[in-house]
Amino acid sequence: MSGTGSDGVYVESTIIMTTVRVIAPFVFTFGLFVMFHGAESAGGGFQGGVLVAAAVLLLAFAFGIDATRAWLAGPLTRTAIAGGGAAFALIGVGAIVLDGAFLEYVAYDVGSTGVKYGIELVELGIGAVVSGVLVGLFFSLASGDFTTSTGDAPDNERDAATPGGEEA
C-alpha cells in the first residue's frame, strides 16, 4: 500500500486517484443503501458501516493517509461513534420510558410500521458506530507514533512498509 507510511513514502498516482475519485462516492452510497435496505434484502447496519468505512479507506489509499486524516480531523469520527451508540441505547431506553421493555419498538406506538422504523434507526446507529470505529482503527494502526515509543524501533520499519504496498 503505497500510501501507508505517515512519513512520506506515499507516491501520488493519477490513475489511482482518478479511479478512487470516481468510485468512492459510489461505494459510499452503496454503503448507505445497504445500511437502510437491510430490512428488505441482505445487508444491514454493520455491512453498510463497513462499506462506508471502506470508501474512506479508499480515499486514504488514493490521496495519502495524512491528507485524508487532515480532511477528517475534528469531531466527525467520535461524533459518529458516540452518536451511533447513544442512538441505539436511547431507542432502547426510550421504550422503557414509554412503559415498555428495553428495545420494545412496539412501545412507541406508531402503528405497524413503527417497528420497522425503529429497526432501521437502530441499523443506522450501528452503521455510524461501525464506520466511525473502523476508520478510527485504521488511522490508529497506521499512525503508530506512540507516546510510549522507546525510540528503539529498528530502521527497517520503513523498508518493511513498501512490500505491503499495492493491495486493496
Partner: protein, 119 residues
Amino acid sequence: MIDLLATHFNYLAVVALLAIGLYGVTASPNLVKKIIGLNVFQVGIFLFFVTSGFVDGAAPPLLGHGSAPYASPLPHVLILTAIVVGVSLTAVALALVVRIYDAYGTLDEDAIEEVRTYD
C-alpha cells in the same frame, strides 16, 4: 463412511478449519500469523453454526422473496454478531502487535522471549 463423508462434509471442514486455526495459533512463531490462525479458528465455528441452520434446497430467510423452506435465520444472526466480535478482536490484537513491535523490534515469539530473558 462414504455416506458420512457425503452427508457430514461440512462438519469435516469445520474440524479441518479448527485444526488449522489452532495449529496456527499455537505453532506460528510470528504474532501476525497467530492472529490469522485465530481468525481461521473462528471461521470454523461460524461454519458449524451456519451449517446447522441450513436445509437442503432452502432459500435465504428473506421472507416473501422466495418460498419455503427457508434457512433458519437465527444462526445467521449469531454469526453476524460473532463476525463483528471477531474483527474487533483482530483489530485489538493487531494494535497490540504494533505496540509489541515498537518495544521489541521483532514479531517473532522466540526472539521476544529471548529479549525478555536478556533484560
